[in-house]
Symmetry: C2
Subunit: 271 residues, 2 copies
C-alpha cells in the first residue's frame, strides 16, 4: 500500500508534463498549508460562464466533530472577504440540491527562475496545487471557532493563544468561514537544474555565450517591526522562532531545488 | 484631470474596505507586472458553473500592431499551459459571438503579516489586482514573437536578447499565448502599522500582554546558481543587476509598508 492519493479523474488529470504531476494527499495539503494566499474562484452568475477570483487565507483541516461522525476527508477552510453575494450563492446551490457552491482553490509557490539557452526552455522551480469541490459557509459555532484558530495559527503557529481570545459575539457574527469539500485535487512540482533541448545542447556558439542556471527564489521575513501601541518590549518566542525556522527552511528549499537533477525529459504535447 | 482609471461597474466594485480599493490603471498594471505567477480562471464547461484556476506567467502590453489600428487599451498577455481544451473553448466562445473566453486573472503580493491584539484584527500588508475580460489565442506571428519577448523579459529584463533567439518553427508552433482584453479591473492595497478596535485598545491587560507589530515579507532571490552545462563563468550583468535591484527594492517596500500609518478606520460590512 502506498501513500494516500486523490483519485485521477477527467477533472484533475494532468496531461502536460505528466512526470511533474502529483496526486499525493500529503504533498497537496502541504502546498496549500504553506501558501500565504490562496486564489479562490467561483462563478457569480450561473447563467454566465464568467468566473471571478478572490485572494483568501486558508488551511487544510479535519474538524473533530466531522471526524466523530465518521468523515475522514480533510476540508480546506478559507477566510477572506466572504460577501453576502457569495453566501447567497452557496445557499442557492444547496437549494438546487448541490452540495454547495462550485469552488476552485489554487496555491502556487515559486522556488526559482530556471534560465536556459532559449526562452522556450525557461521555466520556474515551483510547487502548485489545485483543489475543486463544493463550498459551504460554516454555521456551527464550535466548528467556526475551531476554524478561526486553525487559520490564525496557519499564518503564525501559536498566535491564537497569544492574543485576546475568545472572539466576542460581534466578531463571531462578522467573521465568515468558507469550507471546501474536495471532489478533485492535483499538484505539480518542478525542481532541478536547467534542461535544454538536444538541438541547442549541440550548439557550441550558444553554449559559449548564454549563461544557464537557477536564481533561487523564496519568501523571506524581515526583522519583526513593533507597532505604535505595542508595549511588549521582548518579541515573543512564537514570533521569533517562526521567523528563524521559516527563513532557514525556505532558503534551504530554494537552494536545494536549484541543484537537483532536472526532471526526466518532458513529453511532447499530446493533448 | 486625474490619472487614468478603470471604470467602476457592478462587476468590479469593491464593497469591503473601500478605502483600500483602487481603480488606477498604473497601480493595477504594476501589481500584475511584478507578480511572478498569475492565477487564471475560466469555466471549462459552460453548462456547469464550476471554474478552474491555472497558474500562468503574464504581463501587460500594448502591441504596436494594435496601437497602429487605434486601440489604446493594454492587454494582459499570458503564457502557461494553454491546452487544446482551452483553445477549443476560446474558439467556441468566438463562434457563439462572444469576444473570447471569459477569463479572470488575479495577482497578489504579500508584503507583511500584521499582528494585532485579536485574531479578528490580524491582517496582511498586500497588493492585489483582479482583471476580468475575454481571452483569445494569439495567432498573428508578429504579435506572438513580440509577446514571447515581453513575457520572457517580464521574468528577467533583457533576458530574451541574451538567449538563443528567434524561436524556430517548432517553438512557434508549440508556444501558445493567451491575450486578455480587459472589460473590468480593480485592485486593493493594504499597507501600514497594526490597527485594533477601540474596545481592545482600552484593555490594559491586553495591551500589556500581546505583542503587536508587522513581520515584513518579501520575495528574495539568492545568489545565482550556475547549471551543470553552463560555460559562461561570469554571471552576466542582466542577471546580477536584476537580482541586486529587485532584492533591494522589495525589502525596502516591505519595511516601509510596515511603518506607514494604518489605513483610515475600516467601514462596517454593509453588503
Amino acid at each position: 500500500m502506498g501513500e494516500p492519493t486523490y483519485p485521477q479523474t477527467a477533472a484533475n488529470k494532468i496531461n502536460r508534463y505528466k512526470h511533474q504531476a502529483t496526486y499525493n494527499v500529503d504533498t497537496i495539503h502541504t502546498i496549500v498549508n504553506s501558501t500565504p494566499v490562496l486564489h479562490v474562484s467561483f462563478v457569480p452568475d450561473p447563467a454566465v460562464p464568467a468566473p471571478i477570483v478572490l485572494p483568501m487565507i486558508g488551511q487544510m483541516g479535519l474538524f473533530p466533530g466531522d471526524e466523530s461522525r465518521g468523515e475522514d476527508d480533510w476540508k480546506c477552510y478559507l477566510h477572506g472577504y466572504v460577501s453576502s453575494r457569495l453566501m447567497n450563492l452557496a445557499d442557492a446551490a444547496i437549494k438546487r440540491g448541490e452540495e454547495g457552491l462550485h469552488l476552485c482553490v489554487a496555491a502556487t509557490k515559486v522556488d526559482g527562475f530556471v534560465l536556459t539557452l532559449t526562452p522556450n526552455s525557461h521555466n520556474y522551480n515551483y510547487r502548485s496545487a489545485v483543489l475543486q469541490g463544493f463550498g459551504t459557509i460554516v454555521e456551527d459555532v464550535e466548528e467556526k471557532i475551531w476554524a478561526m484558530e486553525l487559520i490564525t495559527n496557519s499564518v503564525i503557529p501559536d498566535r491564537y493563544a497569544n492574543t485576546r481570545v475568545p472572539p466576542d459575539a460581534a466578531e463571531m457574527h462578522s467573521t465568515r468561514i468558507l469550507k471546501l469539500k474536495i471532489t478533485s485535487a492535483s499538484g505539480k512540482v518542478r525542481e532541478g537544474v536547467p534542461e535544454d533541448e538536444r538541438k541547442d545542447m549541440k550548439r557550441e556558439d550558444v553554449l559559449d555565450s548564454v549563461w544557464t542556471g537557477v536564481l533561487p527564489v523564496y519568501e523571506k521575513m524581515g526583522e519583526p517591526q513593533p507597532g505604535p501601541y505595542n508595549r511588549v518590549t521582548k518579541i515573543p518566542e512564537h514570533v521569533t522562532k517562526f521567523v528563524k525556522e521559516q527563513n532557514e527552511a525556505r532558503e534551504k528549499y530554494a537552494f536545494e531545488a536549484a541543484h537537483k537533477p532536472a526532471p526526466v525529459k518532458r513529453v511532447k504535447r499530446s493533448d
